[in-house]
């Protein structure tokens, strides 16, 4: 709606669901009410991240080399390279070379990564891109619900899958974790933007599931209840993978966008009464009891 003003842009580094690793979930958001600063861009998920930034800079190479003024569409719309709209207009990119500019954007303009859930298609870009993080800069902030942080801490930055680049467990401190409380106050994420996280279910784990909430017939042990999987119901021994929804608010206008991670259907053919809200209530119960 035109009356909402030019508050946001969500810049799709990757917007697909695979299977190609070059186009999986990754978004950059900026409040256009603020000037470009070191903390302008918020990354929401980062399955595709740096390669997506490089790609858009290459696609916009004629625009990026001469574009210094901020130019935005006159109403809510999707802009592509063909439209002449360049999402990094006004960002004072240092070079003619797309890769150099992409490196600048990554190092200087993005400081926080807000992650919905731990699946690789929402996270792998961030992990691999850590190779360009430096000790001189402030650590990048990885913000997510506590179970997501714990899973990343245990299974990614563990000196096995990837070096422990975090500032916990004697890591090198290129990344700092921020554990968000579920459905709590909005937390400042980047210049002019704050976020609130809500937990949702992304389906049952492969070991126990079928996906409609049926009881498993396999009689297997449930997944260990520690790392991203959580027990949905101790009696029926299902477990689910948690995902998140973020409300992201622009401080200048109060306008918000809602960004979902992956999500399973809330109602099922087996159990029509299992509505979305019931499912979410269940998730909130879990968080309440864990903390």
């Amino acid at each position: 709606m035109a009356d909402l003003g030019f508050v946001w842009f969500g810049y799709m580094q990757g917007s697909g669901g695979g299977p190609s690793e070059s186009n999986v979930s990754g978004y950059l958001i900026r409040s256009t009410a603020t000037k470009w600063t070191k903390n302008s861009l918020l990354a929401v998920d980062a399955g595709t991240h740096l390669s997506g930034i490089i790609r858009i800079l290459e696609d916009n190479v004629t625009l990026s080399s001469k574009s210094t003024s901020s130019k935005f569409p006159s109403s809510a719309s999707i802009a592509t390279a063909e439209s002449g709209i360049f999402p990094f207009s006004g960002a004072s990119l240092p070079s003619e070379a797309p890769k150099t500019n992409a490196s600048y954007i990554l190092r200087e303009l993005v400081s926080t990564y807000l992650i919905t859930h731990t699946h690789l298609d929402h996270l792998s870009g961030f992990v691999i891109n850590t190779a360009s993080f430096t000790q001189e800069a402030s650590p990048k902030r990885l913000a997510a619900l506590p179970n997501v942080i714990n899973a990343i801490k245990t299974h990614i930055f563990n000196d096995v899958i990837w070096p422990n680049l975090s500032d916990e467990n004697a890591g090198v401190g290129l990344v700092t974790y921020q554990r968000l409380s579920a459905a709590a106050d909005y937390v400042s994420m980047s210049e002019g933007l704050s976020a609130q996280a809500w937990p949702v279910s992304h389906g049952h784990c492969m070991k126990m599931h079928t996906h409609w909430g049926r009881k498993s017939t396999a009689g297997l042990d449930p997944c260990s209840n520690s790392q991203g999987h959580s027990m949905q119901n101790h009696q029926t021994r299902w477990c689910v993978l948690d995902s998140a929804v973020f409300f992201i608010r622009d401080s200048a206008t109060g306008k918000e966008v809602m960004m979902w991670g992956d999500v399973e259907p809330g109602s099922s053919p087996d159990n029509q009464a299992a509505s979305t809200l019931k499912l979410i209530t269940c998730r909130l119960d879990f968080f309440g009891s864990k903390e």
């Binding site: 190609s20 949702v200 996906h211």
Partner: protein
Amino acid sequence: MWQEAAQKIFMGSLCSIFIECSYDRSHPDTALYGHLSPDHLISELKVLAEHVQNLRAAEHRERVDKLKRKRMSSGYFNGDPAIEGRRRSNPNPPDATRFTPPPLDRDDDMADVSPKAGLKSELPPNIPAASTIESIRPLDGVKIVITHVKDTLTQEDVPAKVLADLEELEKETRLGCMFLLARQGSSIYF
């Protein structure tokens, strides 16, 4: 969750929802693996729409009651059908701008009423609130940005198919929201 979102839509602060729709309608429910297909997304949005409608209906009832009480106490409301009829045709809504106008393809019996008047036919308390409220599509003005469409690695443009499926379902359900595709490399401004 949807209740929270509905509150924000009702207040006018939530302008867009980025949500996944991984597959098109031909995809079987048994192989969703924790993802949504168009029918499931629409049923989620129906839950959201219902919450929005409930909030609008509640506000509507409250306003009617307030007005009624005010008139009763001031002696303004006399229940004369002729007077009430004139009042209905000449509304003066104090804050109708919060709502988007009823859709152009609304029922014919609404066609001679101006968009703003659509909300104010509540003035005679004997007209049920629901008839007016339901003429406003619940998610008018909300943009649903579709993400996470799985590529089938064929010539098929799956995202376009998903979008077409959703638009078809939207026509049936009249939710009022607009669907946009999050294509890689594009940007969206609100």
